[in-house]
């Protein structure tokens, strides 16, 4: 099951790697499964998007980072 969240979060880092974030409760990141960058709809001035697929101590999460806004977003949770 997957749930679309799309809410801003604060991400903690260990060195240059994402380590944990709080969303109701603490999610500890155990492993970065994948990460990629999306160009976005540049013609609509949409900013570039960095995507991290991580495995936390609770579930699989998709985190988005908007570099222009310097904002992390918890985009999706997957069981």
């Amino acid at each position: 099951m997957s749930k679309l969240v799309n809410q801003p979060i604060e991400l903690k880092f260990r060195g240059s790697f994402p380590a944990a974030f709080h969303f109701g409760r603490e999610f500890k990141i155990k492993y970065i499964l994948n990460h990629w960058r999306e160009g976005g709809q540049w013609w609509l001035d949409e900013p570039e998007l960095f995507v991290y697929e991580v495995l936390t101590d609770k579930c699989r999460c998709e985190l988005h980072f908007l570099p222009e806004l310097e904002q992390w977003i918890l985009y999706r949770l997957t069981d």
Partner: protein
Amino acid sequence: MFVHLHVHSPYSFLDGASSLEALLHQADQWEMPALAITDHSNVSAAVEFHKLAQGLGIKPIQGAEITTEDGTHLTLLAENSTGYQSLCRLITAGFARGSRHQCLVPWEALRENARGLIALSGCHHSGTAQALLRRDYAQAKLEVLRLLEIFGPGQVYLEMIQNYLPFSKRLLEGIAKLHGDLRVPLVATNNVHYLRKEDFPIHDLLVCVRTQTTVHQLHPERPFNGENYLAAPEEMQRRFAAFPEAVENTLEIAERCSPALDLTENLFPRYFPGEEPEKASQFLRELTWQGARRRYGTITPALRERIEHELNIIQQLDAADYFLAVWDLVQYAQKHGIRYAGRGSAADSVVVYCLGITNVDAFARGLLFERFLSLERAQKPDIDIDFDARYRDQVADYVYRRYGPEKVASVCTFHTYHARSALRDLGKALGCSQAELKRLTKNITSVPADGIRALLHRLPELKHHPLHGEKYARLLDYCAAINAFPRQMGTHLGGLVVSGEPLTKVTPLQPSAKGVLITQFDKNTIEDLGLIKIDLLSLRTLSAVSDTVQELGPRLNYNEIPLDDGATFARLQRGDTVGIFQLESPAQRSLQSRLKADRFEDIVASVALIRPGPIKGNMVDPFIARRQGKEQVTYIHPQLEKILAPTYGVVLYQEQVIEIATEIAGFTPGEADRLRKAMTKFRSQAEMEAIGREFIQKALARGVERQTAETIFSYIVGYAGYGFCEAHAAAFADTAYRTAYLLEHFPAQFYAALLNAQPMGFYPPNTLCVQARSRGITILPLHINESAAQFTAGDNNIRIGLKQVAGMEAACLESILEEREKSKFSSLQDFVYRTKVKKDVAENLILGGAFDWFSPNRRALLWKLPHYYQSKGGSLFLETSPACSQIPDFSPFERWLKEYAVLRLTAQGHIMDFFRPQLPKTVLTSREVAARREGPAQMAGLVIRPHRPPTRSGRTVVFLTLEDEYGLVDVTVFEDVYRKYGRVLYSEPLLLVTGTISRRDEAELASIIATGITALR
């Protein structure tokens, strides 16, 4: 340090978004020791890249990203010239296996042509990456093993690209595993498609153009993100921190590669293969002297010296084979009765004249051979020949047969982005509708894609153009960014290269739309590779001449046309030159009426005078005044007299610039020609000043006074930038005079031939018909039983041909002619029943007047037509259509318009016939304007070719011709009037022009200086 080994330039055609200069400039800033260019299936950038990189001290590594026959990509780098040749053969094989649009390299070809190549396993479209993405590790391993088998150990690298795609991590892990298992070295690349991250939208847009999508549509080939830029070495090191070997290996590969191009070779075929080059020189010598005896009869010592001089230079430049090859093909043309005429600077050569290639006597004219060929310049010879347009391909075929298909190819051209094409393509990619694109490109003239904003502010008709809107600001930026990028490859109109060795030694070959093989280098770069281009050009004027000569038979010996025919010169003096090669434009007609040419030299000067340079340089008026003795001819240095006397003290020809530099400053002819060339290219002010200093210093050393030397140099600067080659002018003048003679003495035949050779010349066919009528020639209407396929000339008439009818295809025409051969058509119905002509063409035939002979009511015939088609092959009772005698015909005006629409001309009358009765008497006819000396005038007519040539003042002036039922009058629209009426000028077919009659002198044709313009409706 790091070297980018997988880089696409704009020659990847809509997949590379930064110029070679920009990429190399950045590499230079980072002090990269080398750079590779790996365009898709071509090496078109190779020469330009080689030269630019060498200039910056960067090692150029030639390469290509090829697509194999199974659709997978592979990055290949040429380690040396052997590798480059392998690459050329592979790409050629790929196009042979694939199609014109798709190069699919067979694996077998890779096995046979792997020498000298380094293979990088490729991007995510590679066989290895595709297998890894399918999680088929075993297959990925097999793919790498296949590369090892083909290229050998040490020649294969596993390509790692970290461009942050959703699958990049998996791919990199898989490649690292292959590296561990197979011990194949790694190499890091960034599959570069543009210089900076912010250039990503340009790349995305170009891909949209290539895939025919808009930004709103998905396509698998559209880039996912903006990571394929020329990343800095530090960034690449950061990205591949876990694989330092991958970064280090880029340097190792760069170290192994050497520049693969040799730009010093001469690949032109030997005329006598396997023999010493002297044999060709000797044969050329024999042919030249034979020709000299034929052309001149007596060989004077001066002539002997001149020919020897030329032959010695040709021999020293090892160019005898080239001259013989060109001689050989004109021999072919002569034997097959194909009309030709050599042109260009080759006409500066007496040898070329003796060989029968040109018809310009360079010795008698005192033309300077060094303008064509010189030891100092050591440039390759370039001979251009015009052929009767219909037989140019036949001559080209002969060249293919003569040298072998693998050694001959057409030269390619690159269609590059200009304002209109950039707006159209990028606008479409951004989602603009067709109607919007039409609005956006309306009235945008042929300017560079980065000059649209300037144009919008310059032209009055663009004052309210939608592109001024903020909405399109970015579109204009994007257009500017792709200015001059090659969009696609085409075929050069005339250029053929001939090689002594298979062409794939230096260039891949690929099929063109026409079916012939083309090189991947254009005329600007092909010669750097050791190939010499022969220009076989099509000239429709020669087709018209051939037709006229054939039609006249024994009544005319074209080669013996007297060069002093009074009637012909009288025609020129009246400016009555519509239809004459090179002398028919409004500016030429005006010049002719003032110049009063009475000798061949005047025509040579005319051809050179009406060019942007002499006009801008205000040379025309002084030339005319001096030619007519109204202004004194003076020379500021006695040595100039012998050089400039033929042009009355005016520097008109490029040859004169060379001679001045030689005589006054003591330049060698080669040095002087370098000076001419340097100035022709409009170098920077600093460079011009440097050349000037050299000229003046040398002149001073020869005893010329400083002020005189400076004044002479100012002449050269003033004229050399746009001076015309005298030899070329003389070659054109020869054809110009002869066509003038034909027009004067055989107008019906020559006008008919001109009409058959359309499209050509300055004027549309209807204007030629108006002109013919003004000579008393009857234009006979289209006639289904009398018209031939083409226009045919009678004693004093011209019959319109069936081919002129819109939509008339070869099969239709054949069907009509075949049936008519059996028996003439007796009615429209008979015509429909017996031929295979499509209904829409039959309609056009009716509207064109082809059936007026059966029934003059064209509308009634149109009404009957569907019934005939319905009953075709059916009922024996043929006349099944209802009676139509009550159907009124079109009005005369409608008839005229419809006839014009299907024929682009009309047999009778002029559109002004319909408007004239409504116009007040104050509106003059062209005949009345011509008869007036000065004063106010109003004239109405059909607008012919409004154009904005460069002017002396640099201001915009529009010239157009108004055509009415009696003839032509030229109109000049100055900038202030143009700003006011520009919109009407370019959108209305009929205009009423108010203004004043202008003549610079008594003799000049009257023209109108417009003060007001309105549409005539």
